[in-house]
């Protein structure tokens, strides 16, 4: 058994949320650069240049990449031989989110009483925390500050098995078409297929953790990712939604077995500010 003080969890979560909000991941920057080389619309190239400049300024001056510094989605893989000491792991994660908000001058974008009060919690907590038990004695934490603009355009459908791959493709295209300029294109798409309603949604967000340009290990899913990318880009929405050939920078699919009667499909849209950061204890 390995003992880990929860204060280490707090420190790691705080560092990761700040890093994520100031440093756009290298794979995202590379895909923006590649997009700039192939975008045919002059206005679209203007937008891509602005986003690349923005990433430089954010990193140099420690100004958040986007003013929506996101809802704190946290994915924790906890080795089953770990024992946490010094208090609650969940509370430690939230303290990390709050510390990042204060130290990094991030925006408090969370309200409690979602239905009635909608009162700002003041420190961007609570996180939406997904914890998975894994083998070993390490803790891996990945944070994904998620913007409201792109999250709001995400959708889920409980398709019929007979709808098949064609149904999945149509649903993805319909979702991106409806989203238009709202999720700040160029976007990334996380697609969760299978499981239950909730599992499909979780898979779609987990798919966004995969670095840009790393296809599914399953050859047929990798092909479907490539086909979807091409079809989405043929929609013409373009950078900023001003029209163009690059609407989407990458599609990642995650799959899980499902009920014989079901074909759940979730599409989680991620904006150009595709922020994430990972670390371990």
């Amino acid at each position: 058994m390995r003992e880990i003080d929860v204060n280490e969890v707090t420190a790691l979560v705080s560092r990761l949320f700040q890093e994520a909000n100031f440093l756009l991941p290298a794979d995202v920057i590379e895909s923006l650069q590649a997009a700039l080389a192939r975008e045919e619309s002059p206005l679209g190239r203007d937008v891509l240049e602005a986003l690349l400049k923005n990433a430089g300024i954010a990193a140099r001056e420690r100004v958040p990449l986007c003013q929506d510094t996101g809802l704190a989605a946290v994915f924790a893989e906890v080795g089953q031989e770990v024992h946490f000491s010094g208090g609650s792991f969940v509370a430690a994660v939230d303290r990390g989110v709050a510390a990042a908000q204060a130290e990094g001058y991030l925006r408090a974008s969370v309200v409690s009483g979602a239905c009635f009060e909608r009162a700002n919690t003041g420190d961007n907590t609570p996180a939406v925390l997904h914890t998975e038990l894994v083998a070993g004695d390490r803790v891996n934490i990945t944070v994904l500050p998620k913007g409201g603009g792109s999250e709001n355009m995400s959708r889920l459908a409980m398709l019929k098995p007979a709808d098949g791959v064609e149904g999945i493709i149509n649903f993805v295209l319909e979702t991106v078409g409806l989203a238009g300029a709202n999720p700040c294109p160029p976007i990334f798409l996380g697609v969760g297929i299978g499981g239950t309603m909730d599992r499909a949604a979780l898979l779609s967000k987990q798919a966004l953790l995969r670095p840009a340009g790393s296809p599914s290990a399953d050859g047929r899913l990798a092909q479907l990712e490539a086909d979807l990318l091409e079809k989405v880009n043929a929609l013409g929405i373009g950078p900023g939604g001003f029209g163009g050939t690059v609407t989407c920078l990458g599609v990642a699919i995650e799959e899980y077995p499902c009920h014989i009667a079901s074909l759940p499909v979730a599409v989680n849209i991620q904006c150009n500010s595709a922020r994430r950061a990972a670390g371990s204890l």
Partner: protein, 184 residues
């Protein structure tokens, strides 16, 4: 591409009516911020016949909720937020003289109609470029409803703030025309 058109608020109806969807602009001068909560309060104040925190005539409203300013900076990250959340309030503000609004994303038909009727434009700034756009904001001051935090009304003094005309006063819509042009 044509050079950007320079806009210095307050804008006249003619200024607004001369702008065409797809035109790049650079705004210099004063703009006021308002998100959903501030819009609701502005409309409530109008309904009660109260004085507004700023005179709407000719003004530019920017839909933004900045991050807190870090020491030594006038403002934090400050890019546009989704405009459609304030669609229901926009026609009333345009009827009272607001000439341009800056945000991102599609707007409803009520906004398109109000732009035409009153002579105003909907501009988009690049969503996701909050750090870059913050560099064009020389000063920021909360002028109303500080209790709303990031949603308070700020007066920004901006310099060469870049945006694009998405919807003009003649029914032009860059989101629609751009998408059509590049659809394969």
């Amino acid at each position: 591409m044509a050079e950007p058109v320079r806009l210095k608020p307050p804008l006249s109806e003619d200024d607004a009516r001369s702008l065409e969807a797809g035109t790049r602009v650079l705004v210099s001068g004063t703009v006021f911020t308002a998100r959903d909560a501030a819009h609701r309060r502005l409309i409530e104040s109008i309904d009660r016949g109260e004085e507004l925190p700023f005179d709407l005539e000719g003004q530019v409203i920017y839909y933004v909720g900045p991050t807190p300013a870090s020491p030594g900076k006038p403002v934090g990250s400050a890019g546009p937020t989704t405009s459609s959340r304030v669609d229901r309030y926009t026609p009333q503000l345009l009827a009272r003289g607001v000439r341009a609004v800056i945000g991102k994303g599609d707007r409803g038909p009520e906004v398109a109609a109000a732009l035409k009727e009153n002579g105003a434009v909907y501009l988009a700034a690049v969503g996701g470029a909050g750090a870059l756009l913050a560099g064009r904001i020389a000063s920021a001051e909360v002028i109303a409803w500080p209790e709303l935090g990031t949603e308070a009304v700020y007066r920004f003094e901006v310099e060469d703030f870049p945006a694009i005309v998405v919807m003009d006063s003649r029914g032009g819509n860059l989101y629609e025309s751009g998408r059509k042009l590049f659809r394969r």
